[in-house]
């Protein structure tokens, strides 16, 4: 078996006169060509992360140093109101905006899938906010949420005089204002991915469901939806990376306020490495932000390893 494999390999590489030498030479070019990738992968995504981690155990202030103080920065981090509120906020923001994004994204996709007129027009309208930056999104919604001149006042002027809609002025509701802006920006993308997923479902399924007399809405919810795992996962991952990074929209919309009501971990890190000149504390926060990513990757690795073992057992 192994002899045969070797033989076939030799036959494939036969046309080149000196396979070994040629291969070595070209590998050099390949390494030269991918130097930027090597530098980025090792220099940024390994070395930089290691340095962040190391500095999180030091008392670095304006400049990084190596005076190790153990877990002090982490203790301080988790005692800080600002950080705890940030963590709470990113969960509220994440759950609300992911939920709203996926539900409305799928709903829009289903309605777009009804053989409607002007599909391209509707698609453009739902998707254009995504082309705009989150700073622009944040500033526009901040203006619309203005308590004195925004939507609230416009509706009151139309006659509904006790209409209340100015989420950003209230500590308890400000985060939902940010969620609304974020969903407005990103839901079109989810719709586009889900619509592509819907169109990829085998048309036989629809015929079978029709013959069985299952109403369309049930087909969409219980038959088609579970078949679109790929599209759902794609949209979900895309939104998830956005949630952990949430920064621009909050800066533009509320600057973390009112008070510290809409603080986010990403803002916390930037504040501590700039204005608050406490690099050690900032790095402790940054290293903590990496935890959920590592947890997800470890989980995925575990699942892959288990399914691989299952396959091996089956053989």
């Amino acid at each position: 078996m192994s002899q045969f494999a070797q033989g076939s390999e030799a036959a494939v590489s036969a046309p080149t006169q000196h396979p070994r030498r040629a291969r070595r030479k070209f590998n050099v070019m390949s390494i030269v060509g991918t130097t930027p990738m090597i530098l980025t992968a090792v220099g940024v995504f390994v070395v930089c992360i290691i340095f962040s981690f190391i500095w999180s155990f030091t008392n670095s202030k304006l400049f990084p140093n190596f005076n190790f103080i153990g877990f002090d920065q982490y203790v301080r981090l988790w005692k800080s109101d600002r950080w705890n509120i940030s963590v709470g906020n990113v969960f509220v923001f994440g759950i609300c905006s992911l939920g709203a994004n996926m539900v409305f994204g799928y709903l829009l996709a289903v309605f777009m899938d009804q053989r409607i007129q002007q599909e391209d027009l509707f698609r453009s309208i739902f998707l254009y906010p995504f082309a705009m930056s989150l700073v622009v999104t944040g500033l526009v919604w901040q203006w619309m949420f203005d308590p004195n001149l925004g939507i609230q006042s416009a509706v009151r002027q139309m006659g509904w005089t006790d209409f209340q809609f100015a989420p950003l002025t209230n500590q308890a509701t400000a985060i939902y204002g940010v969620v609304l802006g974020g969903v407005w920006n990103g839901v079109g993308v989810t719709m586009a991915i889900m619509l592509a997923g819907l169109r990829g479902v085998d048309s036989e399924i629809w015929k079978a469901a029709k013959i069985d007399g299952i109403p369309a809405w049930r087909t969409y919810l219980f038959i088609v939806l579970p078949m679109m795992k790929g599209a759902i996962l794609t949209a979900f991952i895309l939104q998830c990376t956005g949630v952990v990074r949430v920064f621009d929209i909050v800066i533009a919309m509320t600057q973390g306020g009112p008070g510290i009501a809409t603080q986010m971990p990403a803002i916390y890190v930037i504040q501590y490495i700039t204005d608050r000149v406490n690099v050690g504390q900032g790095m402790a926060a940054a290293s903590t932000m990496l935890l959920p990513v590592i947890a997800v990757i470890a989980l995925q690795g575990l699942l892959q390893w288990r399914s691989k073992r299952k396959k091996e057992k089956a053989i």
Partner: protein, 307 residues
């Protein structure tokens, strides 16, 4: 009835691209409901754009009267001129103009650099694997999910050590680094989908790494490169975080300047100028979006697909 029997065979023939699903009936209540939902949703999506435009064309006294959604009683282009030319950020009163040219510089340099780098990566990862190349790719994909904050500070230190922090080359490098995971994935998937015979034939003819790249792969990857250009142009133009941290005062991009104009106004808040500035900042990516149409969607979807 007739429309139903006519559309039925078309569904099977055209496959996945054409609209499908529940079939259209005549104008039933359900149909009206579908359009009502879509129109209301469309109004929600268009509302901020409408408000931006009408606000930017009103004078300040008119804005203070409220009526957010009304058309301007008297159209004025003053706010647009002011936003572009004389609006203040702190002590400088040059409007958005410098930010626009900075963003233009940053985008025009970063887009080609990041795409060429990623294209070579994808090509090497598909045809010229070496020991450890797959591991490097794995780290790169991991990098796509890492929160930027984890690497920002060491990167600041590293760039200032080589004198590139807060410079134009510095911000170009930063955009190249953070665009690399998604773009490399995009190009690797594209090159991996090409028939391997293409590469083997060129190898038999004695062509080397760069020869095959420039003469065969580069011309073939034009469509995927267009997707990458769209993805990067909008992404880099819309960037805020890297602009604040890495660009420095001299190269401050438009998004950062816009935020400064709007949030650090002293005295009277000029809502009309702010909205005109906001539209000006959104104009370039919006133009890219409307010109590129379906390519834009393809870019997002391609970027989101996991390896």
């Amino acid at each position: 009835m007739t429309s139903e029997t006519m559309t039925a065979p078309k569904i099977g023939a055209t496959g996945a691209v054409e609209p499908r699903g529940a079939k259209p009936k005549k104008l039933t209540i359900a149909r009206v409901g579908v359009y009502a939902f879509l129109v209301i949703a469309a109004l929600f999506f268009l509302m901020p754009l409408w408000v931006m435009i009408v606000t930017s064309l009103k004078g300040l006294p008119e804005i203070r009267l409220g009526h957010l959604f009304n058309l301007p009683a008297q159209v004025t282009f003053e706010p647009w001129l002011k936003a572009w030319d004389t609006a203040c950020t702190g002590r400088d009163c040059n409007g958005l103009k410098p930010g626009f040219f900075n963003s233009l510089k940053i985008t025009l340099l970063s887009v080609p650099v990041s795409i060429v780098v990623a294209m070579i990566n994808g090509y090497a990862l598909s045809f010229w694997k070496y020991k450890g190349s797959d591991l490097l790719f794995g780290i790169l994909i991991f990098g796509a999910f890492v929160p930027y904050q984890v690497v920002i500070y060491p990167l600041i230190i590293g760039l200032s050590k080589v004198g590139l922090f807060a410079t134009l080359p510095g911000i170009v490098i930063v955009h190249t680094i953070f665009g690399m995971p998604i773009l490399t994935l995009l190009f690797r998937n594209f090159f991996a989908s090409l028939p391997p015979e293409l590469f083997k034939a060129a190898r038999v003819d004695g062509a080397g790494f760069w020869q095959i790249f420039f003469q065969i792969m580069l011309p073939m990857s034009v469509p995927i490169a267009i997707v990458a250009v769209i993805l990067q142009t909008t992404g880099i133009w819309n960037d805020f975080l890297f602009g604040t941290v890495f660009a420095g005062r001299e190269n401050m991009p438009m998004t950062v300047q816009l935020n400064n104009i709007v949030t650090t106004t002293t005295g009277v808040r000029e809502y009309n100028v702010n909205m005109a500035a906001t539209i000006l900042t959104a104009a370039v990516p919006l133009a890219v979006y409307f010109i590129s149409g379906k390519w834009f969607v393809r870019g997002i979807a391609a970027g989101a697909v996991k390896g």
